[in-house]
Structures are given as structure tokens and as C-alpha cells.
């Protein structure tokens, strides 16, 4: 006889496994199969092409991706770690304010972010031109574009990973360790290198892996800035646009391979028993800065960092206020007005993408909220064979680059299948919310896992002991306790879905085009103002939702970053 516990586990696992098999595994396998076909017949031809001289561009793109990713890791670390150290270890005026601003990059969706960078630091950018005019130079002193552009955007958007992990690691270090070292006569410098830094390494390694993966997958920055520079995520898009699905599939498989290898490495790294953080977090001491010169330097640094962090947002705002034709050949915009926003709210055609984005994002968020919660519960609180495998399967959409997820969706659902109830999903409204849903499952699972692992099993047992059935217990005890975790994951999913671009650009149709696609279209027509207005709508939605969740649920999205 199967006992009741086992039965419950099985009931829970059935939907989880069905959905993961249908929408994560099956699409990935479809891509793999497609990559093994050449002109309809099975062959390894695509792979020999990829690595062979016939398509040298591919190897070049792969190396470029790796090269950019390594540099992105270094650059983000170089910015994130010292900032985190300064802002967590020293106390000076404005410190608190800065630490709140530090996460601003996450409220800037990737595409609009890149766009803002172009207008800030690009060829006709505001900053280089301003410097040129201020100092009466004959040429702009610098401009970003190509590799340097991509790298700067990456550093801006990815430094928070280092900043956040370093901050939390610093706050978890038992201050007595450092004090003990001082007490034994070490110098400040020595203490940092011999005590503090080794304690930070696990977090730094994790952040490095993460940034590496995110840069490998990065799409928007190369899309707008690469020029002729080839990177793998972009090559997939080009192959698909040229109709070479088999090559696109092959490129996806290779990129997936790299990403999944990283995922497995990261899991292995984090599962090692980590004695270093064994102590309880006691809250770090902050040294008060008394030296006036040092204080001035710190405050300046803080203000500078703040300006750099907020400039893209401000630029976006300014751009959105430039009416059509008011900034063409001139160095600076000639007029500012609310024209773009007026159009947005008055013209139903222009409003459409906003509505699409909202509907699709909401659908996906409801999905990940429910599914993520159930999956996480099964993973953390139930024991069954193959748990580790399921855990990896859940995390795969997180490791896979968005472009690859897009390709997987196309190759899986461009024909009828059981999982799409015999319909062709590609070209319909539903493909995008589904893609968002899949991409953001891991966010909710991760954040929910964190709270569920904290929840003592005896709470559920107590409820059961008092006579409550499983579902009642789940509803009345488990959900209220884990809600903050689930919500913070869902919130992050919302933030990312509203600005989603790489998957959308592969899958959108005219009827479901989200804001990001409309921004791309407006950019193509050089309608900067309109594009920026759409960007502001994205930022606005993100800010409103973040504010509401913080105000009413005390949930911060950066907690689940």
C-alpha cells in the first residue's frame, strides 16, 4: 500500500514534472534534434560546420562572447567590490542614501538602458559633446561603441551582482575575526588580504560565475552596440532571421552547453561545505570616517557614483520629453514637451504594446507565482527519487540565455504537439506569456526555496497534529509564512518580464508585441522620443510595482537577485 505521504508527493510532482517536461525539456530536445538535422536528414554536419572553416564566424562569435564575458566579470568586480566595501565598512554622510541607489540598474530594462547609454556616451552622446563644448575641443574626447560600449553597459548592469554579494558577505563576517587579527598585530592591509578577502571569496566566485553567464547570454547590448562585432547570442538571432533554423539550433545547443556546464559547476561550488561562513552574522561594525580629506573623498565618490548610476534614467526621461523633430542634427535637444506621453495615452494604437506587455507579464507572473511555489515546496519539503535531477531541470531556464529559450520555443511549438494541445503556438499570442513563464520560473523557485529552507518542518506537523488536512495546512500555515519569498521572486520576474527583449524579439507577432519591441521599432524609425516614452512607461511600471510590494508586503526584489 502506498502511504498517504507518498501519495501526496506524487500528486504534487505530477503537474511539476508535466510542465517542466513539456516546456523546458521538450523544447530543449527539439532544438537538439533540429541541430542534428541537415536538409531534413540526420547528420552531425551542423557541428562540423560550426567548428570547421566553413563557418568561421561562429567560432569567432563564441570566442568573442567568452572574451566579453571575462572582461565583464573583471570590470563589474572592479566596480562592485570596492563600492560594497566602502559603503558597508565606512560611515559618512549620505552613505545610506547611496546604498539605496546602488540597485538602480535593475529598474532599467536592458533595451532602454542600452539606448540611454548610446545617447549618453555614444558618438552623438550628451556627455562627450558636453565635455567637448566645455573645453572647446575640436573633437569629442571619447565615445563608446562596439566592444567598449558593450563592456560599459555590462559593467553598469552587472556590477550589482558583485555589490550585493559582497555587501551581504561583509555583513555576515563575524567582526571578531578581523578584530582578532588586529589584536594579533596585523596591519589594516594585511587584515584585508589575509582575513577579509578569503572570507569574501565564495561570494565573489558565485557572483563571477553569475556575471559570466549573464554576459554570455546578453543580447540587448550587442544588438544595439555591436556594429559588426559578432557574439554568439546575436548570431543565433541572425541565423534565425536568415531562415537557417538548423544553424540557429546548433548555435543554441552550443551556447546551452556552455551555460548548463556553468550551472552545474556553480551548483557544485555552492554545495561544498562552507566552513568559512559558519559563524552567525552579528552585524558588522562600520568605521566612522573622521579624517576630513578622506571624508570629502568618500562623499565625492558617493555623489559621483550616484550621478553615474542615475544618468541613464535621467537621460531616458529627457529623451522622452523631446518631441519629434526637436533633436535631429543639433548637439542638444531644442525643445521639451509632453507630446510623446500625450500621444501614448491618446492613440490607442500606440497604447497597444503597453497593454500587451501588462497582460502578458501578469499572466506569466501568476503562472510563476503558483508553479514556483508548488515546485519549490516539492523540492524542499518532500523527499523522492530524482530530486537532484528535478532541481537541475528547474534551474535550466535560468541558466539558458534568453535567445536560446526563444529558439527552443520556436522549434518546439512551430508544429502541433501534446504540450500545446495540438496547436501551433508560434505566431499566436500565447507563445510570449509562455516563454516569460518558463524563463522566470527559476526566480520564484530560488527565492521560495530560501524561505522554505528556513521554515521548520515541525510547523506543518503541528498543524497536522491539530487535525488540519494537507491542503488546509498549506493554505493557512505554509503559504502565509513563505509569501514574502514567493512574492519577491515574482516581483523580480515582473521587473524582468516588463523589460524583456531577447525572447520577445524572436517570438512576437503584430498582435502581442510588447513594449520592448515597440521601442525597437521606434528606434529603427529614429523616433527617439517615442521610444524613450515607452521606456519611461516600462520604468514607471517597474517602479510602481516595486513600491507597492515594498509598501504593502515589505518585499524587495533585490533580495532575490
Amino acid at each position: 500500500m502506498l502511504n498517504a505521504e507518498k501519495r501526496k508527493t506524487i500528486y504534487l510532482l505530477i503537474p511539476v514534472i508535466l510542465i517542466l517536461a513539456g516546456y523546458v525539456l521538450y523544447p530543449s530536445i527539439s532544438t537538439l534534434i533540429e541541430s542534428l538535422k541537415q536538409n531534413g536528414a540526420f547528420s552531425l554536419g551542423n557541428y562540423t560546420d560550426f567548428f570547421g572553416p566553413k563557418a568561421a564566424a561562429n567560432m569567432e562569435a563564441l570566442w568573442h562572447s567568452v572574451y566579453i564575458s571575462i572582461l565583464s566579470v573583471l570590470l563589474s568586480a572592479l566596480i562592485g567590490v570596492p563600492l560594497a566595501y566602502i559603503f558597508n565598512r565606512y560611515d559618512f554622510p549620505g552613505r545610506q542614501f547611496f546604498s539605496n541607489i546602488a540597485i538602480m540598474p535593475i529598474v532599467l530594462p536592458s533595451l532602454v538602458g542600452v539606448m540611454a547609454f548610446m545617447f549618453l556616451y555614444g558618438e552623438v552622446g550628451l556627455v562627450p559633446n558636453l565635455i567637448k563644448d566645455l573645453f572647446n575641443l575640436s573633437e569629442v574626447p571619447f565615445q563608446i561603441g562596439g566592444v567598449s560600449g558593450i563592456l560599459i553597459v555590462h559593467a553598469y548592469t552587472m556590477y550589482p551582482y558583485f555589490y550585493m554579494t559582497t555587501s551581504s558577505a561583509l555583513n555576515n563576517i563575524d567582526p571578531s575575526l578581523e578584530e582578532a587579527a588586529y589584536n594579533l598585530g596585523s596591519s589594516k592591509f594585511k587584515v584585508f588580504w589575509k582575513v577579509t578577502f578569503p572570507l569574501l571569496t565564495p561570494g565573489l566566485v558565485a557572483a563571477s560565475l553569475l556575471v559570466f553567464m549573464v554576459s554570455m547570454a546578453s543580447f540587448s547590448a550587442p544588438f544595439l552596440l555591436a556594429g559588426g562585432y559578432r557574439v554568439l547570442s546575436l548570431q543565433i538571432y541572425f541565423s534565425k532571421m536568415n531562415g537557417d533554423m538548423e544553424m540557429a539550433a546548433t548555435q543554441s545547443v552550443i551556447l546551452s552547453f556552455v551555460s548548463i556546464a556553468f550551472l552545474l559547476f556553480m551548483r557544485w561550488y555552492q554545495s561544498r561545505k562552507d566552513y568559512r561562513m559558519a559563524g552567525k552574522g552579528i552585524g558588522s561594525h562600520r568605521s566612522e570616517v573622521n579624517n576630513p580629506v578622506l571624508k570629502a573623498v568618500m562623499v565625492t565618490l558617493g555623489i559621483l557614483a550616484m550621478i553615474i548610476l542615475l544618468l541613464p534614467h535621467v537621460t531616458l526621461l529627457v529623451l522622452s520629453l523631446v518631441p519629434e523633430g526637436a533633436w535631429t542634427w543639433q548637439t542638444y535637444p531644442q525643445a521639451l514637451s509632453f507630446e510623446n506621453f500625450r500621444l501614448l495615452f491618446e492613440d490607442p494604437n500606440i497604447w497597444d504594446p503597453v497593454r500587451n506587455s501588462l497582460i502578458m507579464t501578469t499572466l506569466a507572473c501568476i503562472g510563476v507565482f503558483i508553479f514556483g511555489m508548488i515546485t519549490s515546496y516539492a523540492l524542499v519539503k518532500r523527499s523522492f527519487i530524482g530530486k537532484n535531477l528535478l532541481d537541475i531541470l528547474v534551474m535550466i531556464p535560468w541558466a539558458l540565455p534568453a535567445t536560446v529559450v526563444g529558439m527552443n520555443m520556436i522549434l518546439a511549438f512551430n508544429k502541433p504537439s501534446v504540450f500545446s494541445f495540438g496547436e501551433v503556438l508560434v505566431g499566436t499570442f500565447w507563445i510570449l506569456p509562455l516563454a516569460y513563464f518558463i524563463r522566470f520560473i527559476p526566480l520564484v523557485v530560488r527565492s521560495t526555496n530560501a524561505v522554505l529552507e528556513q521554515m521548520d518542518d515541525s510547523l506543518e506537523e503541528a498543524a497536522q497534529n491539530l487535525g488540519a488536512k494537507w491542503f488546509y495546512t498549506f493554505r493557512r500555515v505554509v503559504i502565509p509564512i513563505i509569501l514574502p519569498g514567493v512574492l519577491s521572486g515574482t516581483l523580480l520576474a515582473f521587473v524582468q518580464a516588463v523589460g524583456e527583449f531577447p525572447t520577445s524579439v524572436l517570438l512576437y507577432t503584430l498582435d502581442n508585441r510588447p513594449i520592448s519591441i515597440e521601442i525597437m521599432n521606434q528606434l529603427r524609425m529614429f523616433n527617439m522620443g517615442q521610444a524613450a516614452a515607452f521606456g519611461m512607461v516600462q520604468v514607471g511600471l517597474i517602479v510602481i510595482v516595486m513600491f507597492i510590494s515594498y509598501r504593502f508586503f515589505g518585499v524587495k526584489s533585490e533580495n532575490s537577485l
Partner: protein, 367 residues
Amino acid sequence: MSTVNLSGITKQFGDVTAVKDLDLVINEGEFFTFLGPSGCGKTTTLRMIAGFYFPTMGKVKFNDRDMTSVSPEKRNTGMVFQNYALFPHMTVFENVAFGLKVRKLKKPDVKRKVEDVLKKVRLEQFIDRQVSQLSGGQQQRVALARALVIEPDILLLDEPLSNLDARLRDEMRTEILRLQREYDITTIYVTHDQVEALTMSDRIAVFNVGECQQVGTPTEIYNKPVNDFVAEFIGETNLFPIERDQEEGTTFIYHSNDLNESIYVHNSDENVASYKDSDQLFMSVRPEAVKVNKKPMEGVNVFSGKVDLVQFTGESVHTFVTINDHVTLKATELNRGPSTYLEEGTEVYVYLPETQVRIIPEAKGEV
């Protein structure tokens, strides 16, 4: 109210046998304690009664109902967890009312019952507090109230006092007993604290590595341990191996190789446990039974030695007397002032009364 009847219970976790072939009957209204060292299977047994584990073999019955595979929510037991397991997102009222709401009681009834039980545990003024804002002892009482309010057939307590400080423990001990008597409810109490077990229980079951060693009243367990494990685990004792010599008449004679002397023991149920011919035997004598004297004493079971250490604990004084290289005996006397303390190094005589020595076999099944 129920009796609990465990028969032939074995529980295995993979290769580990947590409980082995356990037979127990717990009577109606009894305060029954599981006592034993860490990892001996107390919690496992309790959880099988609550229904969180199903036995690998054997049957669990409440009265005559077979409950072996009934799920926990249908057993009507009230469990108090070691960490209290209070629902952190609920107030004291909501926590206590949880079980009543599950039972679909009407709102006014819920309110009345919760208020009643909170009055019993003396927490009525905290009814609307968030549980995180209570002290350890108060949380403990909420947990008790929550378990009692559903009027369970059996109350299960798993080391409910182990997270409290010594003072509060004392207080809660009386509190739990008072409530148990008031509700007259069959209670199973898990602890590894022997004082707790001895003072509170009607009967105690002593466990070691998954096996129940002895079941009895506190005085039986203390005065008539069935083997060396029980003798050593409950209270202090002087324990050393002995060989049988002459087992006839009113006084049995054993031989201690360590002392190289004969030991005389009164032949009675009190002094000689039942054992088999093949058993290795031990003698156990409680320190409070050992008599120490500076003057030579007449008769049997008298050994001479030297005072090694005198330990003052407040209410009593321990005197350690070294007889030879193998044997040091411990004697305990109530404190009667400094003039009565023996000096270290003094030559003394030690007497082990024939009626106070107990002969016991070695515990079986030990690793």
C-alpha cells in the same frame, strides 16, 4: 482519554534501527515518560504514536482501535514540540484556535474555549500578542494550550522544557503536571533529564539504542534497576563487575576481583535482580547508601581506603575513597557542617550495607 498499546514495534530508517521490538501499554490518564540518552529512539517512538512515522513492523493501538496507518490529522493527539512550532504569522489567539477552527467549531465556542484554556495556562492577558513577542516560557505555555484545547485523547510532549533555563523548567514542570491532572489526560513525555522523569512520572520507560530496558514507577527504576545501563543512567552509582560465589540462604556471596574480596548481599527481590547463568554480573550501590567511618567497623562488606577527594555541592557532600588502584567508591552524605567533612588523605573504612547493594546483569543488545 485513551490507552496506548504498542506491540512489536520496530522502526528502521534505511540501515539504522531507531526502535527495536518495542512492547508498551500506557494506561488511561497516566503520566508516562520515555527516558534515555540522545539518539535512543524516544522521539521516533513518540512520532509513531502521533502518526508522523509509520512503524516498519508492529501495531499502534489507541484503546482497541488500530491506528498503525491512520494519518496524523485523524488521531486526535495533542503534541507539544521541542521548538514549540508555534505559527509565527499568527497571534496567541489564532495559534490556540487553529485546531478548533479545523474542527469547524462555531466562532463563539472557539472564543470561549480559547479564553478558558489561556486562563488555565495563565496567559489570558497575552491573547492578542504576536507569538514572537513572548518569552520562552510563555511560548511554551501557548504550545501547551494549543495542544490541550482540542481535548486530545493523548498528550505528547517531546522534551518540552529543554530550551528553557533551570528556573523556568522547574516552574513549567509543576505547571504541566497541574494541567495534566486537571485534564486527566493520558500523557507521554519525552526527556533525557532524569530528575524531570523521576519527579513527574507515574511510570517511566528507559530506552537505550532503540530498545526499552525497563518500565516501572520512578522508585522501581531507581531502587530496582534491572541492569547496569539503567542503574548507571538513572542517578549516581558505584558499579563494578563481580563473579558469583555462593547463591544460597538468606545472604548470597559474590566475589569482586577488583577488590579481591567477597561481597555479601541480602537475598531478596530488592537486592538481586533476575539474571541468567550466562550473564556477566555487576554490583551497584548508590553513593547515599555507602557509609564512611574513620573508626574500624566490624562485619562484612567493609573495606579500608584513603579519602581522595571531598566535593561540596551545597546540600550534600561527596567523598571519594580510593580502595585500591582499580576501585574508587563514592559516598554521599547530606551536608552537616564543615566539622563533619573528612580530610583528603585520611585513612577511612567504607561499609556497603548488604541490604543496599544490588546485583544486576549486564544490559543486552548494546553495541
